[in-house]
């Protein structure tokens, strides 16, 4: 167990952790100096652009690039063929960047060019002739599962898919325990409903961008905005046949990711164009390209059946989920199925899931991948049971809530968890008792996410003047430099502003997994603490040398080495700065480091309360009040923890009400821009209140749990439940856009 047993973390008082210092990269980011993906240039640089398919599904008979190549100013034109054979596990990644034999969705890359200017590039794209044999297409998950649906991948699904299914069904699974049918027999009321959710995009404001240089000797430099530059390195190296050590990837500041920047879309293309031209190549996706050809989340269809007794005990629960994740297998349906019933202690529970392919771009992770859609379905049915049985939705959730020792719906038995704490906090909060006006309703929902750890490598160097350079390898997407600096300062016992944290490139530090899975504050924080302790060990040794005593007889307290045990009080304490100043005389530079594949991340739960007002004449839904209750384990920098809660909640509000991928009958995406892909704007929203609960994670020295993802799990259901209470109609189709709400109100009479 990593939790500091020795220090008794529950009782530990922190000096820096839990405070709210200014983030170290703040000034760069408020002055426009911070350099994001598109902000880097190189001498002699070319601009790279991708020709994209206008068809949702077509066989490529031939591509004639000769006219484009002949255009003055065009330096290279490439297609997927230029990459030759790539490793099996990279085939889909490359295919999603540039199509092989078939284009699989509207916007699929077909060819790419490098040119001296955007104007030349634009002209050249028009000169590429692609001979398409247009094929029938399908973009809807249920339609894709029909036996006669157009087949997207001839190979069909894996061994889990029963015979006779559509070849678009890639994978099937079941989880759970007990027998739901037995449970339904014990219920006083059983409700069965079907639900649908449309795909949402992560909607990061910074389009994907990169700058690549690949020299003939195989040495390469890549600058890009990504959640994981090591992952980019590994994928690009595999696709281009480069040595990992020869490809140095530097992560720019990143303008949002939310899971969407965990893979590559243009980086291998830019490297190949640079290889062909011998010049640096910069590529920046347009917003249209980001929507059409990056990775939104899955769209889903589901059936849920839950039984409850009059006193609110859930007796049985069943759910079947169908997720389409675009034209490639790998939708996050398993996580949705595993997460949806996790907040509850259930005797009989079963989930079934299908991973389905359609003519859409390959889905990428989006904040708690798969969970919000599933929780929308299951939390809606639980809410409807409460309504029909006249039960309080918070009390009922509390009655069924999982706790330490509960065998979770996805298998493991929970250690100490916070689901009850979030519900108790919601129940006690003034929001829950506040009066509501006409056409207003309150909704509640609870959500769960796993959280991850992963490979992490941190280096901490103590400088001769007593300052500290902390080097880590995860892009700072929401204030993590601040929290790392705080944890290092806490351990070392020196002021926050004596430490500078930098994000290293892939050549300067060992492997760091992607900034995802809510892992950074947990895993990089853990490694930072361990690296600081490693440096402290060295400093204690150096002090012991100076004092001529045994290193074991030195302890570290408040930024000072102190003689302890029999030597206590014998020498005045030596500060970090004093030890650092003598480093050259005591053995050389002082550093600490830590490398780990951090396992044992703690799960996290959240309960959301929302008040909505529905305009009964237009179906418009206004969010009036919103409160998030979430377990953070330990909030290192509470402002940024609150920020994660607020941001996740608002992304959920957008998804619930207005955000959606709209495909026409022609299989083309109709709203590839921020005009009609409607993310929430400031005037749509109230303040988002937050309540941070701290149930320590035993897997982290300070008890930290990941907080980044759980906050997007409950909103879809919480808002649907509030709309149901406000307007008397149960919306089962996300987004709950005004036409759908109005139609439901009118249908209900």
């Amino acid at each position: 167990m990593a939790l500091d047993d020795k220090l008794g973390v529950k009782d530990r008082t922190f000096k820096i952790v839990g405070t709210r210092p200014n983030r170290p990269d703040g000034i760069d980011k408020v002055t426009g100096r911070a350099r994001f993906g598109a902000d880097m240039n190189a001498p002699g640089m070319l601009t790279g652009h991708v020709l994209r398919s206008p068809h949702p599904h077509a066989r490529i008979r031939a591509i004639d690039t000769s006219k484009a190549e002949a255009l003055p100013g065009v330096k290279a034109v490439i297609t997927a063929k230029d990459f030759g054979h790539v490793p099996d596990d990279m085939a889909d990644v490359l295919d999603h960047c540039l199509a092989g034999d078939k284009v699989l969705y509207d916007g699929h890359g077909v060819a790419a060019i490098a040119a001296v200017s955007p104007a030349v590039a634009k002209q050249a794209l028009k000169l590429i002739d692609v001979d398409y044999e247009v094929l029938p297409h399908v973009t809807d998950v249920d339609a894709a599962m029909k036996p006669d649906a157009p087949v997207i991948r001839e190979a069909g699904g894996d061994e889990t898919v029963p015979d006779g299914m559509s070849k678009n069904a890639m994978h099937r699974f079941e989880f759970g325990h007990g027998d739901p049918e037995t449970g339904f027999g014990e219920a006083d009321l059983v409700i069965e409903r079907s639900f649908r959710t449309e795909a949402a995009h992560q909607g990061y404001i910074e389009p994907n961008a990169c700058l690549a240089t690949l020299a003939p000797d195989g040495q390469a430099e890549l600058w890009c905005c990504t959640q994981g530059h090591y992952a980019v390195r590994d994928m690009c190296a595999a696709i281009l046949g480069l040595d990992k050590g020869m490809l140095r990837v530097t992560a720019s500041e990143i303008g949002g990711g939310f899971g969407g920047k965990t893979t590559v879309f243009i980086e291998p293309i830019a490297l190949m164009l640079s290889k062909k031209t011998g010049r640096p190549v910069k590529m920046v996706m347009t917003r249209d390209e980001v929507f059409r050809a990056s990775g939104p989340t899955a769209s889903t269809s589901s059936d849920v059946k839950i039984g409850m007794t009059k006193d609110g005990t859930i007796t049985g629960a069943f759910a079947e989920f169908r997720y389409q994740g675009g034209a490639y297998p790998g939708s996050p349906v398993e996580f949705g199925a595993m997460a949806c019933f996790a907040p509850y202690d259930l005797k009989h529970v079963k989930t079934v899931g299908w991973d389905v392919v359609t003519n859409r771009p390959k889905q990428a992770a989006y904040r708690a991948p798969g969970a919000p859609m599933a929780a929308f379905a299951t939390e809606s049915v639980i809410d409807e049971l409460c309504q029909k049985l006249g039960l309080d939705p918070v009390e009922t959730r509390l009655k069924n809530a999982a706790s330490e020792g509960t065998k979770s719906a996805y298998g493991p038995t929970f250690p100490q968890i916070g689901v009850k704490a979030t519900l108790e906090a919601a129940k006690a909060h003034p929001h829950y008792a506040a009066p509501l006006g006409p056409n207003q309703g309150r909704g509640v929902a609870t959500g769960f996410w796993f959280n991850f750890g992963g490979n992490t490598c941190v280096s901490l160097n103590v400088n001769a003047d007593g300052t500290v350079s902390l080097t880590e390898g995860n892009p700072d997407i929401g204030g993590s430099r601040a929290s790392m600096t705080m944890m290092a300062a806490e351990e070392l016992g020196i002021p926050y502003d004596r430490i500078r944290t930098v994000i290293a490139d892939t050549g300067s530090l060992g492997l760091n997994d992607v900034t995802d899975g809510s892992r950074v504050t947990f895993a990089v924080g853990l490694s930072t603490i361990k690296a600081a302790r490693d440096a402290i060990r060295v400093m204690c040794e150096r002090a012991a040398m100076v004092w001529g005593i045994d290193p074991d007889a030195v302890e570290w307290e408040d930024g000072h080495a102190k003689p302890a045990g029999p030597n206590a009080g014998q020498f005045p304490p030596m500060s970090l700065a004093e030890i650092a100043a003598q480093a050259s005389n005591t053995g050389g530079p002082i550093a600490g480091h830590h490398e780990v594949n951090a396992e044992g991340a703690g799960v996290s739960f959240a309960t959301h309360l929302v008040d909505s007002e529905v305009d009964p004449e237009t179906g418009a839904v206004k969010t009036l009040r919103y409160t998030v209750f979430q377990d953070a384990g330990k909030a290192v920098h509470p402002s940024y923890v609150e920020g994660q809660f607020q941001g996740g909640a608002v992304q959920g509000i957008g998804w619930a009400l207005n955000e959606e991928y709209i495909y026409g009958e022609d299989g083309k995406l109709q709203n590839a821009g921020f005009l009609d892909y409607r993310v929430p704007v400031a005037s749509d929203l109230p303040m988002i209140d937050t309540v941070i609960l701290e149930i320590p994670n035993p897997g982290h020295p300070y008890g930290v749990r990941g907080v980044g993802e759980t906050s997007i799990v409950p909103p879809l259901a919480a808002i649907a439940n509030s709309v149901s209470n406000a307007a008397g109609v149960r919306l089962t189709d996300i987004p709950m856009s005004p036409p759908k709400v109005l139609e439901a109100i009118d249908a209900a009479g």
């Binding site: 409607r678 704007v681 139609e743």
Partner: protein, 285 residues
């Protein structure tokens, strides 16, 4: 592509008339540059009219207001006189896009872009506004509703540009209002828009009315049936019901990514009723 910024109207007209390729007028540019970005519009010539005298001014004329073609939304929003006389028109213009868009977007541009969903157009139609068009053969004035002939299509001939828009003198005891429905609170294209202008007699009976709907047909609709049911009434609930029914009946929308036929028809009536109530309050003073 050429960019020209002439200083006289005559030069602007000559440039536009003389261009053999695709020529576009640039006022605020908030539609033109979006079209260029997407590749939908590929101009050979852009004529920036903002350096022409008079294009930026709002002047009183015959008790009404003449608004230069390059006056951006934010400037009109700051104009107390126009706001007092035609609050519905100003509000409609101010609904277009963000604060940033307001810094550039013009009423003339909104009109000439000829989107069926243009916010300021139903309000101008309800206000009985006219447009002064300059061209190679001199200038002419036409009603606002005659400008757009279909989505993206106008009745302007080659070489013609909108010089100004004229909002007539506001009759006594009259008021106007414009409301639109959008999914968010800002930044969307109208799913339905409705402009209402009405005049009362001393006894509070409606003597004149004009109702226009946006985004429910290929061009903005002037709903004469809706005006008819208001005139002669005190704009009471029964009249408002009839107004709503007339607007819902007149709307001929399509299903698209922004709304359905059923939604648009119903909301046409809802907005007409709500806008008429505001116009009524304003008419009562």
């Amino acid at each position: 592509m050429r960019y020209e910024a002439p200083s006289t109207l005559e030069n602007a007209v000559a440039l536009l008339a003389g261009e053999s390729g695709s020529a576009h007028v640039l006022a605020g540019g908030t539609d033109l540059l979006v079209g260029m970005k997407s590749g939908f519009t590929e101009p050979d010539l852009i004529v920036d009219i903002k350096r022409i005298d008079g294009m930026h001014t709002v002047t009183q004329e015959d008790g009404g207001w003449r608004i230069g073609a390059a006056v951006p939304g934010i400037q009109l929003g700051e104009h107390d006189g126009v706001k007092a006389d035609w609050p519905g028109v100003v509000e409609a213009l101010e609904l277009i896009g963000s604060t940033q868009i307001q810094g550039r977007a013009t009423m003339a541009g909104n009109l000439c872009n000829a989107s069926p969903a243009a916010d300021s157009v139903p309000a101008m139609v309800a206000a009985d506004a006219t447009v002064r068009i300059a061209g190679p053969n001199g200038s002419r004035d036409i009603p606002v509703i005659e400008v757009a002939t279909g989505p993206g299509q106008t009745s302007l001939a080659k070489g013609e540009i909108v010089e100004s828009i004229f909002l007539p003198a506001r009759p006594v005891r009259s008021g106007d209002a414009y409301l639109r429905f959008i999914p968010r609170t800002e930044m969307d294209i109208a799913v339905v828009g409705c402009g209402v202008s009405l005049t009362l007699d001393e006894g509070g009976t409606c003597t004149a009315a004009c109702v226009a709907l946006g985004a429910v047909a290929a061009t903005v609709l002037l709903v004469e049936d809706a005006a008819r049911v208001l005139i002669g009434t005190a704009v009471d609930d029964a009249a408002l019901d009839a107004l709503a029914a007339a607007c819902s009946a007149a709307a001929k929308p399509i299903d698209d990514k922004r709304g359905t036929v059923a939604f648009r028809k119903k909301v046409s009536g809802v907005l007409a009723r709500r806008a008429a109530k505001i116009a009524l309050e304003r008419a009562k003073g």
